[in-house]
Structure formats: C-alpha cells, structure tokens
Symmetry: C2
C-alpha cells in the first residue's frame, strides 16, 4: 500500500513535487477501521472531517421516505469522502463500508492549508472532483434515458474501469464485489430485474459469471449495449504541468 493513496491517484493526473507529496501525506496520517456493513456516517450527521479511503470498498447512498435507497457512488482506495462537508453542516448522504475498510480522516482546515501552500495541488483536486461529477452525469443519463439492460451493462463497465485504475492487471475478468440488490439501487432497478438483465446479457454472450467472478466476454458489444463513453481516454491536465 502506498503511503499516500491520494498522491498515487493524483499522480495519474499530474507529476507531483516532493513538497506536494508531503502535504498529501498529512491527509493520511490518522487511520480508522470499519467493519463490513458499518456506516462511516449517516445522512444528517454532523460531519466536519473529510476522509481518504485507504483500503476496501464503500458506497454512498441516500434513503427515501418510502425506504428505497439510491446508491450515489461506489468508493475505492484513493477516493475522497465527504467533500460535501465543505458546504453542508450535516451530511447529505450516508457512507457505508461494503467490505472491511480503512479510512484516514482529516479536518477541513487542513484542506484549506493545503490549498494555500500548494495551489497546483488544489487545482488537481478540483479537477479530480470534476471526474466525479461527470461520472455522476453519465449515471444520471443512464438512469433517466436508457433501458434496464443498458444500465446494467454500463454499471459493469464503470466498476471494471474503476477497479482497473487501482489494479492495471485487471482485464475482462474481475470480482464484482457487490450484490444484485446494490446494483439495482445504483441504477434504479429492482434486484429481481437486475438478475434477469444479467441473465440476458449472459445468454446473449456479452458476459459470463462463475464463482463470484464476472467476465466481459464481448466487451465491444457490451459497450454498445451500455452507450459507453471512455472518459479516461479524454483526460487532459497538461495545461497544469507547466505551472511555475
């Protein structure tokens, strides 16, 4: 495990200086462990820290009055959690551990200091928040305007891509790590219907499932089925590189 996941993540965007690395390390000094299923915080909790996820998988979600759940985002090591703390006194969403996890809490004032001392890092953080936002617009478009089959396909590809960022050895085979109910709650379907769509994708030869592992058998077809856009192919932080 790198001593700063955040540095590892941002290094994918811009080359970091030693000073910048040091600064990022400060965000991951403390450590807190969470058991599978434990909530880091819940909707409406007073939260004044932010967190870096260091180990494990988490998710953020909201619960509606009728008890239904909308999963907003799956979280992987290097992701920043609770950025909403910057504006909201209470959390707008719940964050829960899907597997056993380790997170590093840091105070929002420390972030303010980081912005002062490392402006280029601040820009990189802003930029990386844009990736999060765009991922969410993609999901919104999927949920609002595509079929159940397309949404399932899109989520499978999204999860594979995110896992591959951390582990480049991942190709077309990976462990999904979430239940069909969670898939449904992320893309606005019932677990039953997710099951049927997975079966359909399997019967059509786009995916295969075995022993908890998923294989993207025909990635090209799956991408077409999903309305897939590879956002990672379009990164450009070049313009930040030259900053004095």
């Amino acid at each position: 495990m790198p001593d700063s996941w955040l540095a590892t993540r941002l290094n994918g965007l811009i080359a970091l200086t030693a000073q910048e690395r040091d600064m990022l390390r400060r965000l991951e000094e403390r450590e807190r462990r969470l058991r599978r299923g434990a909530a880091l915080f819940s909707e409406n909790d007073r939260v004044s820290d932010l967190f870096v996820l260091r180990e494990g998988t988490m998710m953020s979600y909201v619960l509606l009055d009728d008890g239904s759940r909308q999963i907003l985002r799956f979280l992987f090591p290097g992701d920043i959690i609770a950025t909403a703390t910057l504006v909201y006194a209470t959390a707008p969403e719940t964050v829960m551990a899907i597997t056993d996890c380790t997170v590093s809490p840091f105070d929002r004032q420390v972030l303010a200091e980081l912005v002062s001392s490392c402006p280029r890092l601040a820009m990189a953080l802003m930029a990386s928040e844009q990736r999060v936002r765009v991922a969410m617009t993609d999901r919104l478009a999927a949920v609002g305007r595509t079929s159940a089959r397309a949404r399932v396909a899109a989520l499978l590809l999204e999860l594979r891509d995110r896992m591959r960022e951390l582990d480049p050895s991942i190709g077309t085979v990976f462990a999904l790590g979430i239940t069909q109910e969670e898939i449904g709650d992320a893309i606005g379907l019932t677990a039953v219907h997710v099951n049927r769509m997975l079966r359909q994708l399997e019967e059509q030869g786009l995916i295969a499932r075995a022993a908890g592992r998923l294989t993207l058998v025909d990635e090209a077809k799956l991408m077409r089925a999903a309305n897939y856009v590879d956002r990672n192919a379009k990164f450009d932080l070049e313009w930040l590189q030259v900053a004095e």
Copy 2:
C-alpha cells in the same frame, strides 16, 4: 446587474475582501452574447475556457445514440459553466441558451492564478461546486427511485429555489421558463407524461398554472409529494470565515 455575478453568488457563502472581489472581476471582463437556442459548445468540442453566466438561462445536456436527451442542469446567472474543462480535453456535455444570454469566458489559467493568489476564494469555489454535485445526487435519487409525480414536483421546487436565490422577491409564483419537453428530459419522462402529471398536481390543488406563470398553491403538500429537502437551510461556510 452586479459587476461580478460570481462575487454576488459567493458572497452568499463567505464575506469577500476587496482583493478577492478584484480577482473575481477579472473572470468577467470579457463578454459574449448568445441567441436563444444557440449552443455555447457541444459535446466533444475542444473547450479550454470556462464561463460565467451573466444574463439569461441555459441548460447542459447529453444526447444518447437513440436521439434521446438528458438535461443535466439548468444554469442561471452566476453559475460557472464548463468546469469539466479542468480535466477533459473535450466537452462531456452540450451547453445551450434557453433564452438570450450573456456569458463571460475566461481561460483556465486565470483560474489557476486565482487559486494561487486567493486560496480562500479557491475553497469557496470548491465548496460551491459541492452544491452542484449534491443537487445532482438529489436529481439522481429522484429519477432512480421516485414516481413521475414526485419528480415533477421536485423539479418545480428546485427551479423555484434557484430563481429565488437571484431574486428574493420570488415567492410561490414564478415563470417556469422551460417547456414540458425540457422538464421531461431533465427528469427522465416523456413530455406527454409530464403534461399529465402537471395536470394531476393542478387538479389536486398543489399548483396552479396561468399565462405562463406557475403558482405553488400548497407548498407543504408539494414538498411532501417531492420528497423535498431544503439544502439551502443547511449551508455552513462559517469555518472558512476566520481564514488566516
């Protein structure tokens, strides 16, 4: 019209210094006009500027392969446009003028300078991007997990709230300014069904419509129907006030 819309907007969050105001004014030096229906830029265009919307209403959307459209966000004066420019070489979304508009373009390098010279302003911008993100999670939850009626109600309230930020005199009566088709494309419904839901809300006495103006007749009921959460009530940028 204020000489910096952005300053006006951020002033709602933190008290700005003279230097900060000056800096923000630089972002709105240039000016570009757009006719109703004109695209500021389209998906996949190379964009290296950001923009501040100064006058008018705009929207951002994506088009899917089958021609359907998902409206991501409605834009009002003071909103920053094309923040995705910070990471993506090409625009992930189209931005179009709903009414005649004025925008102020500024180069992303200018933003980088702003972050260097006014770190507290940078924090305020980050914070304000969180509002955008949370608004989007609310929409995602609505589209993924609520009925057509609830989504329509939620959008009406969202639009009213956003307009009220700019014009506090707005109470329960306002001009919607968008078509039923646009409503549908924002919340994942057909225009036909939006029409039926508006009628239903009207018949149930939650809203009234006349001469292009919408009245929220029973706001409490409408909020319940919409699963409404007033995010504005929960702001907290106090912690930034004391900076250095």
